[in-house]
Symmetry: C2
Subunit: 331 residues, 2 copies
């Protein structure tokens, strides 16, 4: 069923059918009604790919996230979708599984769909991906972490500041020997920002303290890696009384292991995570961590995109949404 079929059925030109759909006010009541009836009886569904090609607008936005099943990103996509769909935009989605190469691949593939805007988690991309994004001449929102050299707009919070707050919180709770532990691979720019935040704040808050940072290396970001990190903290830095993990996952693994070994948390050692994932509220003791405004990031990103897509001006926005320390029992 095409526009032409409907036109024949209604006894008008294809152009008139197109008009009744796009700008009904330019069409007389009687023909508009005839067209409406023909559309209903033929079961015509407009081909948006053709519309896209002819009008040079796709009414789509592409979203690139590390993982769909990570609830923080799902929340963001939910907010994004809510904002965009109410304005008639549809959402393309791709997940990188935290791989920069996969991200570049996705950027290329999704750009091929000619989206009117792009939402992408993170500010660290391959050189090629960066270039593609810039040359695409569409609004791009980089979300989550904030950077000094965004491609276009950005919506997020400062990982660095968040960790600084965490260290301050730990200091206020009376801990004196914090150690940072996480995966600090080049791929994960957010983890690196967190480490930087840790180093800077320890330097400021604990001027006489050594700066202890442990890298889990190139292993998976799973709870087992958290156990391994705990092990290393205990053996390499036995003076530690507070571990700041770069992710709730690591922290949860460490917490489990502490229970197994009858290490009291936070009595013997305190534990802090990052992300406020679901698991953080279910560990024993429950995990103190920092929450990103996931849903808001999506919503605000959606609004920024809508504005940019409609105004066609090149103006960009940088929005810092802050974060929340979630104080529970583990520290």
């Amino acid at each position: 069923m095409t526009l032409t079929d409907v036109a024949q059925h209604a006894g008008v030109s294809p152009q008139t059918v197109s008009r009744s759909l796009r700008s009904p006010e330019l069409v007389s009541d009687s023909t508009r009604e005839r067209v409406r009836a023909s559309i209903a009886s033929t079961g015509y569904v407009p081909n948006l790919a053709a519309r896209n090609l002819a009008s040079n607008r796709s009414m789509t936005v592409a979203a690139i996230i590390p993982s769909i099943s990570a609830s923080v990103f799902a929340d963001a996509v939910h907010g994004l979708d809510h904002e965009l769909s109410s304005h008639g935009y549809q959402l393309f989605i791709g997940s990188t599984d935290y791989s920069a190469d996969r991200e570049e691949e996705l950027v290329r593939a999704l750009l091929g769909r000619r989206p009117d805007g792009m939402f992408i988690v993170g500010t660290e991309h391959t050189a090629k991906a960066n270039q593609l994004l810039k040359e695409a001449r569409i609004p791009v929102v980089e979300a989550w972490s904030l950077t000094d050299s965004p491609i276009h707009s950005q919506v997020g919070f400062s990982n660095r500041e968040a960790v600084r707050s965490l260290v301050q919180y730990g200091h206020a709770q009376g801990y004196r020997h914090p150690t940072f532990a996480g995966s600090l691979q080049p791929g994960d720019a957010r983890a690196i920002e967190r480490r930087r935040g840790f180093e800077a704040s320890v330097r400021a808050i604990y001027p006489n303290e050594a700066i202890r940072v442990l890298d889990s290396g190139n292993h998976g970001a799973d709870m087992d890696a958290g156990v391994a990190l705990l092990d290393r903290v205990l053996s390499e830095h036995p003076e530690t009384d507070l571990i700041v993990f770069s992710s709730d996952i690591f922290a949860a693994g460490a917490l489990l292991e502490c229970a197994r070994r009858r290490i009291s948390v936070p009595g013997d050692i305190a534990v802090i995570g990052f992300g406020d994932f679901e698991i953080a509220a279910h560990t024993v003791p429950r995990l103190t961590t920092v929450a990103a405004p996931s849903h808001d990031i999506g919503t605000r990103a959606g609004r920024v995109l809508l504005e940019s897509m409609h105004s066609a001006s090149e103006s960009t926005q940088e929005i810092d949404l802050g974060f929340t320390i979630v104080a529970r029992e583990s520290a």
Copy 2:
């Protein structure tokens, strides 16, 4: 940047560029290399909307789910995406927010993108949505629950068997007077299946027991309805020692109300839900329920779609993936 631009740059015809991309083996090494270089230096990104129009294949799949941020559906989409993206398909996503009208709207809109396949959660759609889906002539996988009259293929689990297992579990825990409570409107085949499962299994397991079934009627499927159902169970069937709700939502409402009234769960009365929604792990006491194999549903649905899209035969599949009883503290 278009195919033609690249062709001019490389000094060949547009056709040759197209061929070097689609079937490189038909092009001589030297020209292929020239084309490759031109693509790289022009930063050409193929327009997939145009390719879609010309080739009548979009290499996209549309997924319609109730909510992106519900982890069960996010897991399914993750599995689906993983399966499809490895074969070059991209994913369109839409969330209905549990509204049938919104679902119909989405079906229409996403069908406009001419996806090569469709993934949709649930088997109950508006008449119009059903018709659109059938007339789209693309493979459709209805996921989650199983129905007797699928549109095309389906991947899910048997609600009937799941409730039967729940009743068996309740019996094993020592409960002797189970009552089923839920929304049993004629439209909702899944709830009816659950009721049937309840009736059949009570008949088999409790031969001397009356079969108690309560219908919340034509109200919303929200926590308040759960409170109302609890009320009716207590007044109409005071002998009840186990309530099997047709949804975690109802069960969670009932649990909250029990806390308010100082009714001990499971001491005074036990409660079982259905679905293993996120809330089930957050109630006090935590809710015993049944979990769908979310991620597997997505993965298998992806495979079914791939087969159907490639074979072009009209063959359909019906896959029962089973379920898992999640035993927590409420029963």
